[in-house]
Structure formats: structure tokens, C-alpha cells
């Protein structure tokens, strides 16, 4: 077919129209929203340590948990929910007190299974005891969630196997840290019946050093990966840091054993130790409030297309600052290639990593700038469109001075971790930041969403998220 010498080609015209449409509808633009309002949060709670999940069956359904209202004998703790991609939010009280002696929520993590059923891992504490529970949806989406068997101890996380090709689809995993041992051990509880029964298995190597920071990812083939750190002492480390190895191990049998990469797993940064945070004073104590960063230094995710595994972790490097690195493995965790994703100018930590359906990798993290009179903490979201090789897309989500914020408690500002996930072609995240539009300035859960396609991926842009 001959093209008219006066008109651009049909393909070019279509592309122009598409670009115009994309620009007009805001696709790819970062959407942010303070999900709390004076009506939803009348007690001005600090809503720290948020976790997010998106219903894979209908990504309009988004659920978030934060430290909001506590459960009691007569009332349930809430889940923040949206049914319109995060445009409007409501609070649904559906996490009942799992035991009369336990108060909470204290540590929580949320996830959906492939059928769109909601799960929440919760830690309850009371007296001298700590018990974790997985709450599961057994009725209507907004109905009371049902707790399963008690298990575990510190910092339970949660991930449900949603892999289409997984032989263990629906298998549920909850990592936690076992403090009952002389050296704390990274442990993973698994369940094949939605948390009704939980089976805890030692997963980290604590034969020489205590473990901490256990995070989990499930790949499409059903293989489960954890990243954890072996805490190897403070020799030569500056104050507030310690020497560690960030190790990944794998379970090929639904969590029954964790030896897929040897007893100790594989270090994602090779043989040398790296220095990471072990501090209650992330920030500059001389210039304002500070945050706890003891298990705020690693996260893991799996590429849903090809099973590549990504780990984001902290390493204080030659810049003499804590920096963030992303390591990628294309051979089920056996070998890793690593790249620094921060620019060596500010201390950084609290990484969460996720991968979209087309392999775009995103990292949510925090750094701080103490060059002025007050320390500014900055939430960032950065993406890589080339499998983690380059990171040129860093965007500051918010810069916050917690000093004037009444409910920002120095020592625990936003929590130990925050929330990031990906469904289809979009990232969905939540962080605890400075409120907007509230009668009282405070910490609130800030939701963000960003469709993430390379600009030349026309199908990606046209797909519905």
C-alpha cells in the first residue's frame, strides 16, 4: 500500500492518537492519596507500618492494614478497603480479638489468594506471651475474618501462592523470627488449609549467628524464597550498623524444608559482609525525630513472567552512607548480580520491592536529608524497565519533617516496613506519611498507584489494570 505523501502513515497516526489518549487519561501518572479522613480516623491515630494487597481477580479491590484501631473484646480492628482502585476508601472492622488475653494488632501483613480471598497475618501480645494468627475470609468480603491456629512469634509476614503453574496454588506461608532460641532463627510457617493449621519450620541458618529480617516471595512455579540476614557482629562497623550477610534460601516442597540453596542459603552480595542498620535512631537525633531500623533492610520479590528473583537490601558502601542495592537471580537463587539503585548522597533504608506482570521492577524506600535545620525524611519510588540493570526513574513521593507532627513518635515513625505490591501492569503502594486535608496535621496512610509500561509497549498501555 502506498502512503499519501501529505499524510503520516496510519501506524504513526494511531500512535499519535494513542499517546494523546494516554496523556489525557493520565496513564502512567503517579496517583497518590491520603486515604484517611477526619471521618474515617476521628482519633487521629498514627496508622504506622502499613501493608497492602490487591485482589488479583479484580484489581479495583485494594486492602490495606495499618496500626489503626485496636481490637477489643467488643470491637474488631479494621482493614482499609477501596473498590475503585484507591479513589475512595472505607474502614471495615473485621479482625476480631483472637484471644481474650491478647491485645493488638501488633505486626500485620496482608495478602489475597488467586480467588480474591483476603488473608491477614496478625501478632497478638499479652502478659508474657506473643502469638501469631492468620485470619482468613470465610464469608462475605467485608464480613468478620476467621483466625486460624496460633503460631510463631516476632514480626509475622504473609504470602499466598497464586502461581497459575504452581503445584501448590493456595499454599500459605508466614515467615517469623523465633526468639525462643539462643540465637534467633528465621522461621517460616506454612499452611495448606488457609491457616487453619500452621506448621513452623526453621528456615534460616542460626548455627553461628542470629537471624533477622525474614521476607518471602513465591514464584509462579510454586518455589518459595526467603531473604534473611545473618547478624555477624559489629567489628569495624560504625555506630548504628552491624555486619551481615543477606542470604536467600528456597523451599521446593511447600515450606516443609528449606534447603534448596544449601543449609544457609546463598549470599546475594557474595562472600564479603555488608554493613546494615541496627539502630533505633535512623535519622539525625540532633535534628529532630528518628526512626527504628533493625529489620528494615531487605525485601524480596519474584518476576511473575519468568521466575527471576529480586532482592533489595541495604549496604553501607564506599560512599560511607547506607545505600540500596538490588540483586537479581535468573537461576532460582543460585547466582546473583547486583546493582546500586541509590545515588550515594543520602542514607537510605526501608526497601520494598515488587515486579509487574511485564517485569518492571519497583522499589519503595526512604532516605533522609539532614543538611538543614530539621531532618527531612523522603519516601521514594523508583523503577527499572530493564530487569533491574538501570534505575533512572526515581521519584520523591513525599518529603516530611516529623517534628511538628504530634502523633509521630520518635523511635517508631512509620514502622519497620511499608507496603508495595504489583498486579498486572501497575504498582500499588502505601506508606505512612504526612497527612493532607486533615484538621490536625498527623501521620496517615498514603496510597499510591502507578501503571508502569515502557512508552513503546502499546499493548501494555491498552491493557486494563
Amino acid at each position: 500500500m502506498e502512503l499519501s505523501p501529505h499524510l503520516p502513515g496510519r501506524g504513526l497516526r494511531a500512535a499519535c492518537v494513542m499517546v494523546a489518549c494516554l496523556a489525557a487519561c493520565g496513564c502512567g501518572r503517579l496517583h497518590q492519596k491520603d486515604i484517611a479522613t477526619d471521618a474515617l480516623d476521628p482519633n487521629n491515630l498514627s496508622d504506622t507500618e502499613p501493608s497492602i494487597a490487591v485482589n488479583p481477580k479484580d484489581p479495583r479491590d485494594i486492602a490495606i492494614v495499618t496500626f489503626s484501631e485496636n481490637w477489643s473484646a467488643t470491637s474488631s480492628a479494621p482493614v482499609w478497603k477501596s473498590s475503585d482502585r484507591g479513589e475512595t476508601w472505607r474502614k471495615v472492622a473485621q479482625i476480631a480479638q483472637p484471644s481474650p488475653v491478647l491485645f493488638g494488632p501488633s505486626d500485620q501483613k496482608i495478602d489475597y489468594d488467586e480467588d480474591g480471598k483476603l488473608y491477614v497475618a496478625e501478632l497478638g501480645q499479652g502478659g508474657s506471651g506473643i502469638t501469631d494468627f492468620v485470619f482468613r475470609q470465610t464469608g462475605a468480603p467485608d464480613g468478620p475474618l476467621t483466625p486460624g491456629a496460633g503460631y510463631g512469634n516476632d514480626q509475622p509476614h504473609l504470602s499466598v501462592d497464586r502461581g497459575h503453574s504452581s503445584p501448590r496454588r493456595g499454599q500459605l506461608y508466614s515467615p517469623w523470627l523465633d526468639f525462643s532460641q539462643p540465637r534467633e532463627r528465621s522461621t517460616v510457617a506454612w499452611s495448606s488449609n488457609q491457616g487453619v493449621a500452621m506448621n513452623s519450620v526453621g528456615a534460616g541458618d542460626n548455627s553461628s549467628f542470629p537471624d533477622r529480617t525474614t521476607r518471602i516471595a513465591i514464584c509462579p512455579d510454586g518455589k518459595a524464597y526467603i531473604v534473611y540476614k545473618a547478624r555477624e557482629g559489629t567489628t569495624g562497623a560504625p555506630a548504628g550498623f552491624e555486619n551481615v550477610h543477606f542470604r536467600v534460601n528456597r523451599s521446593d516442597d511447600g515450606g516443609a524444608t528449606w534447603g534448596g540453596l544449601g543449609a544457609a542459603g546463598v549470599s546475594v552480595h557474595g562472600a564479603p559482609q555488608v554493613a546494615t542498620y541496627m539502630t533505633l535512631t535512623f535519622g539525625n537525633p540532633a535534628k529532630g525525630k528518628v526512626a527504628r531500623a533493625r529489620s528494615s533492610d531487605a525485601w524480596i520479590a519474584c518476576d511473575p513472567r519468568n521466575g527471576d528473583v529480586y532482592v533489595a537490601h541495604v549496604s553501607r558502601d564506599s560512599s560511607t552512607l547506607a545505600q540500596l542495592y538490588v540483586a537479581r537471580s535468573s537461576d532460582q537463587g543460585a547466582t546473583w548480580t547486583s546493582v546500586r539503585i541509590t545515588n550515594g548522597t543520602h542514607n537510605s533504608a526501608y526497601p520494598e520491592i515488587a515486579v509487574t506482570g511485564r517485569g518492571v521492577v519497583g522499589v519503595l524506600y526512604i532516605d533522609y536529608d539532614d543538611s538543614g535545620a530539621a531532618t527531612l525524611f523522603r519516601h521514594h519510588f523508583t523503577r527499572s524497565f530493564d530487569r533491574g540493570a538501570s534505575w533512572n526513574d526515581d521519584e520523591t513521593l513525599q518529603s516530611m519533617d516529623p517534628g511538628p507532627i504530634g502523633n509521630a513518635a520518635s523511635g517508631f515513625l512509620w514502622g519497620d516496613y511499608e507496603g508495595l505490591t504489583a498486579v498486572r501492569n501497575a504498582f500499588y503502594g502505601v506508606y505512612t506519611g504526612e497527612s493532607s486535608g486533615r484538621a490536625v496535621l498527623q501521620l496517615d496512610p498514603i496510597f499510591f498507584r502507578q501503571k508502569s509500561c515502557g512508552f513503546w509497549w502499546f499493548h501494555c498501555w491498552l491493557e486494563r489494570d
Binding site: 482519633n43 505486626d107 506473643i130
Partner: protein, 228 residues
């Protein structure tokens, strides 16, 4: 002016100056005494408030002399009390428990008249107190814990606004993050201080209901100085 007259004049000046200094000192003392007195009155008013404290709290406070020098503060919860002091190991706290348990078997010193009636009536409860070392989940530390079956120390569910209505706004409000060994959610305490910090009404963000008093902290030395 003769030497004698000069000496007499100097003496008069010295006397006048001395009198002035004395007056100034007395004035200063008088000026200082109202706050002390107000503080003592506030402590008395709070510690005798039966709408706040159960009989076991009064009994425990009556034995405060035994706690002096051993712990710096006591923390009163609805059904038990514990030392504000934290111990790294059970062993390090056991010695104090043994000493306290022995002392509690003896009669406490005489209370001031203002406290005598209310506190003495509860003293029989002391015999049933069990003092032991317990590991507390909140901070993963060991504390001395006082329990009594069916113990009634702090009335549950008291709202902070009730405290403000009764005793006015707190003199000072501060925040304390209670860190534990692990990385679970820490308790974030809001401390509402009265009587120069001798008594603190504390809210916890882990409390099931927002705005209620989770515990009351009493400074042992300051309170003991008022009630004996």
C-alpha cells in the same frame, strides 16, 4: 560623728540590711511554699480518689516505705502493679523480691493523718500480695510484679478527659516508645504528668480503647515523702 556614733549607725544599717535580707528570704520562702503545698494537696487529692484507685493500690501505697531505695517508681494497672524499674535478668531482680517480701511482713511506718483512715483500712490486703519477678512482653524486660487474687489496683476504663476534669490539664505531656528485643509494634505511651511528675496518667496506643488511662505511674520517693 564620734566613733561610737559611727559604730551605732553602722550597727543600725547592718540590722536594717539583715532585716531586709530576712524579709526577702522569708518572702521567697513564702512565695515557694504555695506550689509545694499545691503539689502536696494535688498528690493527696489524687491518691485518695477512690474513683481512680482500688483498695489494693491504697494498700500497696501504704507500704511504699519498703520500696524506697529499691525501686524508683511503681506502675499501677487495673489488676496488678509492677516496678517501673527494668531488670535484664530474673536473677538480678530476685534479691530485691526477697528483701521486699520480708519487709512487707512487718508493719509499715505510721501514715500521715490525711491518709491514715483510707489507707489503714486496706492494709490487711498486703498479706495476700504476691511479689515475684515476671518477664513483661511490652519491653521484654524483667519487672517486680505485685499480684493479688482478684486484685483491684486501678479502676479500668478511666478516660483521660475525666482526669483533666478532676485535676486540670497535665503539667507536662510527653511520649515514650517502649522498645522490646524484637521488632513487633512497640507500645507508644503518652505520659500526662501531675504534681511535678510524681504521678503520671499514662495512655498506651496498644490499649483497646482510645483515650483511656492504661496505667498510673507513681514516683516512690516523692509519694513516700507525702504520705508518711
Amino acid at each position: 560623728m564620734s566613733d561610737t556614733e559611727r559604730k551605732a549607725a553602722a550597727g543600725r544599717w547592718a540590722l536594717a540590711l539583715g532585716s531586709c535580707l530576712l524579709c526577702v528570704s522569708l518572702s521567697a520562702a513564702v512565695a515557694q511554699s504555695p506550689p509545694e503545698s499545691a503539689s502536696a494537696m494535688q498528690i493527696q487529692k489524687i491518691l485518695l480518689d477512690r474513683e481512680l484507685f482500688g483498695p489494693d493500690a491504697l494498700a500497696l501505697l501504704a507500704t511504699l516505705q519498703f520500696w524506697k531505695g529499691r525501686v524508683s517508681s511503681l506502675v499501677l494497672f487495673p489488676d496488678y502493679a509492677m516496678s517501673g524499674n527494668r531488670y535484664d535478668s530474673a536473677a538480678s531482680a530476685e534479691e530485691t523480691v526477697a528483701a521486699l517480701s520480708g519487709a512487707m511482713k512487718t508493719a509499715p511506718p505510721k501514715l500521715r493523718a490525711e491518709y491514715q483512715t483510707d489507707y489503714s483500712a486496706t492494709l490487711s490486703r498486703v498479706a495476700a500480695f504476691q511479689i515475684r519477678v515476671e518477664r513483661v512482653a511490652e519491653d521484654d524486660a524483667f519487672h517486680l510484679v505485685v499480684r493479688r487474687e482478684g486484685g483491684k489496683f486501678l479502676k479500668p476504663g478511666i478516660e483521660v478527659r475525666t482526669i483533666v476534669a478532676r485535676y486540670g490539664k497535665p503539667e507536662h505531656v510527653s511520649t515514650e516508645v517502649v522498645q522490646a528485643r524484637g521488632d513487633r509494634r512497640p507500645a507508644i505511651l503518652t505520659l500526662n504528668s501531675y504534681a511535678g511528675g510524681a504521678i503520671q496518667f499514662v495512655q498506651s496506643d496498644l490499649s483497646p480503647s482510645v483515650g483511656t488511662v492504661d496505667r498510673v505511674v507513681v514516683e516512690v520517693d516523692a509519694i513516700a515523702a507525702q504520705i508518711y
